[in-house]
Symmetry: C2
Subunit: 301 residues, 2 copies
């Protein structure tokens, strides 16, 4: 495994990795689903488009995301089609709080353009898309359908690069998507550097300005930088926290920024909401908030 990155694995590898894993906890996850749960935890309104199977993990996923206050209306896959089961990710968290992910996609890859509810997207201020999905050709069609629905309705499009290796696999398509269709881009340092094939963060910064209207670049304990096409550069501090597990840090940062942006906060305030949300989720195992982010935000604004 490459520490800190995400690998796609098959059933056989999943069994082998699990057999070697230390005691584990099971928590609902999924990058964009974590973000949706974060938006709802701030009191925002969010819906999730994704596919689970009619199995135990699928039931737990659906329970958790709905109980978090997120709309999730897509029927679980049943019968022979559902044999691959609900997606799962075996995550190894090292004592330095870094996470290394082994993802078995299962029926998540069975999402189809017909699952995209254009009216739902039209009702939203912003559509949020995760780069991970690009690894699956079928899911890529879903993204293109969703992005087209957003453009048509005037819904803004945000996109996260998700993983440096993922960027490496799809660089040209990502560059084109960002230039043509993305309004708000999320990336961490290694992802944005991978996108522009540089090792110098400031080079990547200079490239992203003008490439996209708003770019939110996260730098772990250094906080984040928000760049606008107008040339604004906003530095946001990381929240001070008890670091346990970095899984979901980027997902929850995006939740804070998007909630702030969609509710008319300044970009600086939106960034601060992102830092607070990320700070909560890295203070415990699992990538979903355990305390209401609305309360944390109220205490810190």
């Amino acid at each position: 495994m490459v520490k800190g990155s995400m690998d796609l694995i098959d059933t056989q590898r999943a069994h082998a990795v699990y057999a070697d894993m230390p005691p584990a906890i099971e928590v609902s996850g999924g990058s964009a689903a974590n973000t949706a749960a974060g938006v709802a935890s701030f009191g925002g309104s969010a819906a999730f488009i994704g596919k689970v199977a009619e199995d135990e993990l699928g039931a737990v996923f659906a329970h958790d995301i709905r109980a978090a206050g997120v709309d999730f209306d897509i029927e679980p896959l049943a019968g022979a089609e559902a044999a691959a089961g609900t997606a799962r990710c075996l995550i190894l968290v090292t004592p330095d709080a870094q996470r290394t992910m082994n993802t078995y996609l299962g029926v998540a890859a069975a999402l189809r353009p017909i699952d995209v509810d254009a009216a739902l997207i039209a009702s939203a201020k912003v559509l949020y898309v995760e780069g991970y999905l690009w690894d699956d050709p079928g899911a890529k069609d879903v993204i293109r359908t969703a992005v087209a629905a957003a453009r048509e309705a005037g819904t803004r499009v945000s996109f996260t690069l998700s993983d440096g290796f993922c960027v490496d696999r799809h660089r040209d398509e990502f560059l084109e998507l960002i230039a043509g269709d993305v309004d708000i881009l999320f990336a961490n340092e290694s992802e944005i550097c991978s996108l522009y094939e540089t090792t110098d963060f400031e080079v990547a910064v200079s490239r992203v300005v003008g490439h996209v209207a708003i770019a939110c670049l996260t730098r772990s304990e250094l906080g984040s930088v928000i760049l606008t096409a107008d040339g604004d550069r906003i530095s946001v501090d990381a929240a001070s926290t008890n670091l346990v597990d970095t899984t979901g840090a980027g997902d929850l940062y995006a939740a804070g920024v998007l909630t702030g942006w969609a509710t008319g906060q300044t970009l600086a305030e939106s960034g601060r909401m992102g830092s607070l949300a990320a700070g909560e989720v890295i203070s415990h195992l699992g990538a979903r908030p355990q305390k209401p982010l609305s309360e944390i935000w109220k205490d810190h604004r």
Copy 2:
């Protein structure tokens, strides 16, 4: 529900409670299993006797307890007998960190005297039994078999009262078991008061001295009191911690005390190990340690 207590529920009630629950995490548990995992986390040697079904939760339970370093050799129930499924507990944690438990026993109640490995018990310094099991007539036979095996081999017997209502249901049998067969008793304030039908902790203390060789009485943030038949009274401070979820506090306290006692520490040191272990487990959701207790103990001894 009665806040802070444990209720046994059936499948129908389990579905109803789960439907109303907020987002949840899934963690292996079970009172005595948590204690065994705690002993192993201190570097001690522990084995667990209990029954799971051949289902997803059973596989997770078996993985987690073995990965924690605990011997667990009992085959999962399969086929028609296993229809009830592996036991589960729906735990509601309130903002004051108190936990309220709804337990569906499933196949845990299918444990039988034949599952008790007398040679395993004979090889141990101490057998640890949880009071919860007394609610099931079949499990009660298992306990009597295990206790008899321990007495025969000279293995000490420890017992935890588990829950005030549980004590209320079985007071006479518990009093008899403690007088006749228990060497080390674990109870919290409400349990020991329920046992002796008093509301005054000091009255309960005066009754337990002489009733059992060693009594370990926990009092939440007030720490614990260890009493011996010789009249020693040892006060142990609670560990300072970031209180999140009290689930497993008693289980891990017992793990610390038993590990200390079995490895020749003084009762005061053993109590301190109990406090450290309880302090770790209440600092996060879930009743299994997330950091090696051996390291925490090394840092604090």
